[in-house]
Amino acid sequence: MARLSPDNVTLAREIIARYPRPKSALIPLLHLAQEQDGWVATDAMEHIAQLVGVSPAEVIGTCSFYEMFKREPVGTYLVNVCTNISCLLLGGEELLEHVEHTLGVRAGGTTPDGSFTVEDVECIAACTEAPCLQVNYRYRHRVTPEGFDQLVEDLRAGRLAEEIPPHGTLARIRQRVPAERVAGPASPVGGGEPAWLASRPAPPPEKVK
């Protein structure tokens, strides 16, 4: 499966052009592949290696370091339950148990119909809203067992399709820089003092008499 589509190749080239060195675009391109397929396939990594100009081994080296990149298919909805300290104190583990029970899979597993994958995750920065979870990285705060059951029902019925896109899609708004506004990437070699510093020099330090 799954080299990048022609549209995504165009987008990939646009992203690469923003960076002084192409390899910096690796993580954004892996996200793009995951958005396209819901996970990161081997073919996609090889394609990205070509686009960025590194070896496939370097791509998998980077890809395998980061937890969000799934190198096997996961459910349409990734349910990440926080059990770190603030959530632990307010029932995070009990919530995870409830989630596992409701969906019938343990953390790390995917439901047989491919709808849900459950994960036991580290702090997701909603500590004052414990216990919390994310579905495809969209937050749900102060989650009760009943609230979670309702969430599953709504997801299964497609009532949250607008708010929660399928796994792989993060921001649905992309950075777009109008051509006439681009300042351009700053190459790490051969750069000089920026124009605005050169045109406004600091006065020489006062001489000590």
């Binding site: 937890e67 104190l89 920065a125 700053a186 790490p188 600091a202």
Partner: protein, 459 residues
Amino acid sequence: MTVTDAPKIITGRFGHDDAHTLERYLATGGYDGLRAALDRRPDEVVQEVKTASLLGRGGAGFPAGVKWGFCPPGVWPRYLVVNGDESEPGTYKDRLLMERDPHQLIEGILIACYAVGCAQAFLYVRGEMALAQERLAAALNEAYEAGYVGRGILGTDFSLDIVLHWGAGAYIVGEETALIESLEGNRGMPRLKPPFFPAAKGLYLQPTIVNNVETLSNLPWIASNGGTAFAELGAETSRGTRMFAVSGHVRNPGVFEVEFGVTTFRDLLYAPVYGGGIRGGAALKAFIPGGASAPWFYEEHLDLPLEAGVVGKAGSMLGSGAVVVMDETTDVVKACLRLVRFFARESCGKCTPCREGTSWLEKILQRIHEGQGRASDLDLLLDISDNISPTIDWPPKQTTICPLGPSAVSPIASAITRFRHEFEARIGAPAPVTVAIAGNAYTAAPATPAPAEPEVAGV
């Protein structure tokens, strides 16, 4: 209770539902700070930030203006990398700033780059924060269209691209050199300092400033109101205001912007407008004053002011502004295990003491938690801790490249020092401790349970 009427420097727009739009931002003084900065020379803006004594809000608390000054003169280009990878357990503030007031952060980035002479900025947002990424993308698109970002900003010769970039799930990337590695497309493993201090050899080995989201969000106010006005707030070693996330067993968990130095932990935990007291009227057992990496505080520390220097002398840190409150019902062994498991999971694997040590610490705590602990286990935990962070003291020493390993030692040293009887109860036998914690050694279990009476705060 002290609740000061200090201005809300960075959360002032949070009352508006549309604070993330350019329209609302401009209607509430937005980009005035940038205009004020562009009317001055870059070195004058740097001086203004030095006058403000703005401390970095990421965790280490280093003065931002001083950090900027570490770039070697005459080496170009310089880069700015914005650390929006908020992941320290208990920490919840940068996400709010990015979601609720993205233009304030963008304006802060512009002011910093103008002042330091950075030719390009990279805004590294945590991968798991989809809404923050959307809000920042929308805000950047608006700001480019309106001429605040890009080529020839507001008709001047100041030009800057801000590249929105996001991570993919790794706590360690919040460490500045790991952040740079990640931004170069690599595994997020920290670099050795020296020689790789970012200000000297950072992104692409060029001089690089790495600043936290909250730090940069203060700059528009400082540029508009002056560093002196900022420095008038707070206290000797901490100026201005700071966002604190108060979570755990309090009645009113929340994120509050409070004045540094004047406000105390007691205010933060108990004042009705802040934490509101312990849930259900229970007694306080312990609280973490600055994120999972910070040694724990207790009843006797409540009257300490929120001031970096004072908290440091008392043996902990304000860190990332994450205050986690544990009441008397808290299972200390379990809390300690969960914190240590975090560091074991997030260790990048580069340094042996951390890679091996944190996983062993987790395994030993797990067996104690499950009632399978041994009498020798507390000493074993401390021996491993001592190998990661020699002398188990504060501030921590380290046998590792970065502070992640030593961070796992903080909850262990705190929990064993204060609640040793709880570990022994779980083990079912006295557990002798011979490894010294910060020079304090025991040879046998104390005859009576560890001290529960609070001592008078010593500062």
